[in-house]
């Protein structure tokens, strides 16, 4: 029982991290109908920027305060992501308005190649560390309930907390601010939003900025967990089943989907993996999402797809 619970909690925390990446997909899809394959590249780019700025800027300015150095790096990387967002909107997406979904998807794939290349050219292509002071030591919980307690990874726990806080902030931003309301209006109906005077281009820029910040937080957490390297882009591939399971248009869906996928992955790997040779995590997530889709083709919380002739 203790072991099961341990796997379950591990899965839930991993799931929180997936939803962090999935959130980036959902935000952009909701606001502009673009399925942003470049989210993985953005995560890598942001993480690279963060890691290198944390190295360069304090050395340049002579700061040796740990918190301040990380803060400066975070702000600088955030600014870089804003520039990236602006460039993507200005140079690529603005010219692709009204194209088919597939074309847009391929365009974001092109953007992801571009970001991969330019990120590694500017910031280097070795493995870098992001040290934001995440505790690495494991803790034991529920020791008085189970014998031996439940082993929890403190780092995962903090990461999940950060993810939860970010999701909360995003929800507040979307529900309570004027910009958030405009974003929701655009997501609802482009033309109607435009007709009441919401500037589409600015909204798209904002949404890519938000996605950039989400990518930065995701890159920071994943980077401090796994190290900043090219394989970070595969995190996006692992987050894709989360997106379709939760529904492409739903923020809560990304969270719930992330939790389901995280738990499903861990449980399948532990209980099913040994029988079939292990390493089934990746495709199991996809198959799990597929099974859900067979019952709800628009994902758990996605908007119902209505076909009209």
């Amino acid at each position: 029982m203790g072991f099961f619970l341990e796997t379950l909690l591990g899965g839930l925390m991993a799931g929180m991290l997936y939803s962090l990446v999935a959130l980036g997909f959902v935000l952009i899809y909701k606001a502009s109908g673009v399925f942003n394959f470049a989210q993985g590249a953005m995560v890598l780019f942001a993480a690279l920027a963060m890691a290198r700025f944390a190295e360069w800027l304090p050395a340049y300015a002579g700061i040796d305060n740990f918190v301040l150095a990380n803060l400066i790096a975070f702000v600088a990387a955030g600014a870089v992501m804003f520039v990236v967002a602006w460039l993507i909107e200005r140079l690529a997406l603005r010219h692709l308005v009204n194209q088919e979904g597939t074309t847009l998807l391929m365009a974001t794939l092109g953007i992801s190649y571009f970001l991969d290349g330019i990120g590694q050219t500017i910031f280097g292509s070795d493995i870098y560390k992001i040290d934001i002071g995440m505790p690495k030591d494991p803790i034991f919980a529920f020791e008085n309930i189970f014998e031996g307690g439940v082993l929890l990874n403190k780092e995962d726990l903090y990461a999940a907390l950060i993810a939860a806080v970010l999701v909360g902030l995003l929800t507040l931003f979307f529900q309570k601010t004027v910009t958030g309301r405009a974003l929701r209006a655009v997501a609802d109906d482009h033309q109607a939003a435009q007709s009441i005077g919401i500037p589409l281009n600015r909204i798209w820029f904002i949404v890519w900025c938000v996605a950039g910040v989400v990518a930065l937080v995701a890159g920071m957490i994943w980077g401090s967990k796994l190290g900043v390297q090219f394989s970070l882009t595969t995190v996006a591939m692992r987050a894709l089943p989360v997106v379709i399971l939760g529904g492409l248009t739903s923020v809560p869906g990304a969270i719930v989907g992330g939790l389901i996928i995280g738990v499903g992955e861990k449980l399948s790997e532990v209980y099913l993996g040994p029988y079939v040779g292990g390493g089934i995590e990746i495709w199991f997530a996809y198959v799990l999402a597929l099974v859900f889709l067979l019952f709800r083709p628009q994902g758990l919380f996605g908007e119902k797809i209505i076909d009209r002739v």
Partner: protein, 358 residues
């Protein structure tokens, strides 16, 4: 002046239904095929065969398969690499495990296995549509990556996980030299392209296009979505599977699962979109673009670097390749979202009137 159909009257249904209705087109295509078979082997160097022509021919075939599914039937698939892998490994198993298995039959059986795999992973398309389907087809990709890495039976218990084939021959002719490999692939490509072209202008092809344009409306006028979608998956993955088997057998001759990674799925989709969705001709253009571009950049960038006096490191070149490749793709999608095939038809239209302005 030279390219116009004036005076070419069709007097029978047979003449009206030819693939190339205009005499000039027919002659041009025949000349092109003849040149590919007779002239190219004489004038081309061995490096060109290995690096460009053989990959181009095989990738055109694969892109053709993807185009049937994505361009004609409208089902976006990111699992093409998996279909290639299934074709390659199935053909490998038939070839190695069955004594005296002819190469051609092994390739075709590989295609048949890929078709079965395609139908299996095409089943969700009956319920799941659009981008959801695109992501769902990634399941096929990751499943096949895992399957050929972990299940040792498929790789004939090779300890390193890499498999190889040797002694390829067709009807007693060895397929060893680059020229023979090229001609072998080209023959299969021409036969399959002809078949595909005829298929997409037959009843089933029209059903696919109806499904692509609006599946609900197609169902209303009596097209069975299940039959149409699954046949598209089957035919497409058969062709992709044969191409995958050829990629493994003829081009690589020794390969491991990473040869058919998700990257190849993306590249195939690029070929289809850049070449032109729903166009057999477009598959060739797209394949040529995607195969030649990295090689060109690889050769061209050090040259540019030496011109401005900068020595670019190998990793620098590979990053610059990524940057330029990505930028070109985006640029291309912006200026011609309908692909090279559209440029081609615009060009033909212009040529019709040339040299008169109207």
């Amino acid at each position: 002046m030279f390219y116009r159909e004036n005076g070419q009257f069709k007097t029978s249904y047979r003449a009206d239904q030819q693939i190339f209705g205009i005499t000039q087109d027919r002659v041009a295509v025949l000349l092109l095929v003849a040149a590919a078979f007779l002239v190219v082997p004489v004038i081309t160097s061995e490096y060109m065969f290995r690096a460009i022509l053989i990959p181009f021919v095989i990738m055109s075939l694969a892109a053709l398969g993807v185009n049937i599914l994505v361009g004609y039937c409208g089902q976006i698939s990111l699992g093409s690499g998996a279909f290639m892998a299934v074709g390659a490994y199935a053909a490998f198993n038939f070839f190695v495990r069955v004594q005296g298995m002819p190469l051609l039959l092994a390739l075709l059986l590989g295609g048949v296995c890929a078709a079965a795999f395609g139908i299996l992973f095409g089943l969700p398309s009956l319920r799941v549509k659009g981008l959801y389907l695109a992501v769902a087809t990634l399941a096929a990709q990751f499943f096949s990556d895992w399957m050929f890495l972990r299940i040792k039976w498929f790789t004939n218990d090779a300890p390193s996980g890499s498999v190889q084939v040797s002694d390829l021959q067709v009807f007693g002719i060895p397929i060893a030299s680059p020229i023979s490999k090229y001609l072998f692939c080209l023959t299969i490509l021409v036969v399959m392209a002809l078949g595909a072209k005829n298929l997409v202008r037959s009843a089933i092809g029209r059903e696919w296009m109806a499904i692509r344009d609006m599946d609900v409306a197609a169902a209303v006028i009596g097209i069975r979505p299940m039959y149409a979608k699954l046949t598209a998956f089957a035919v497409s993955s058969f062709i992709i599977g044969v191409a995958g088997a050829m990629w493994g057998f003829v081009h690589l001759s020794a390969w491991e699962p990473a040869a058919f990674s998700v990257d190849i799925s993306f590249k195939l989709l690029f070929m289809v979109i850049i070449g032109g969705m729903g166009s057999i001709m477009g598959s060739f253009f797209g394949a040529a673009f995607i195969v030649v571009l990295p090689i060109f950049l690889n050769q061209f960038l050090p040259f540019v670097g030496s011109l401005v006096g900068v020595e670019i490191s190998t990793s620098g070149i590979s990053h610059a390749e990524l940057i330029i490749f990505g930028a070109l793709i985006v640029w291309f999608l912006i200026v011609e979202p309908h692909g090279l095939a559209k440029l081609w038809s615009t060009g033909k239209q212009k040529l019709r009137l040339w040299p008169f302005p109207h």
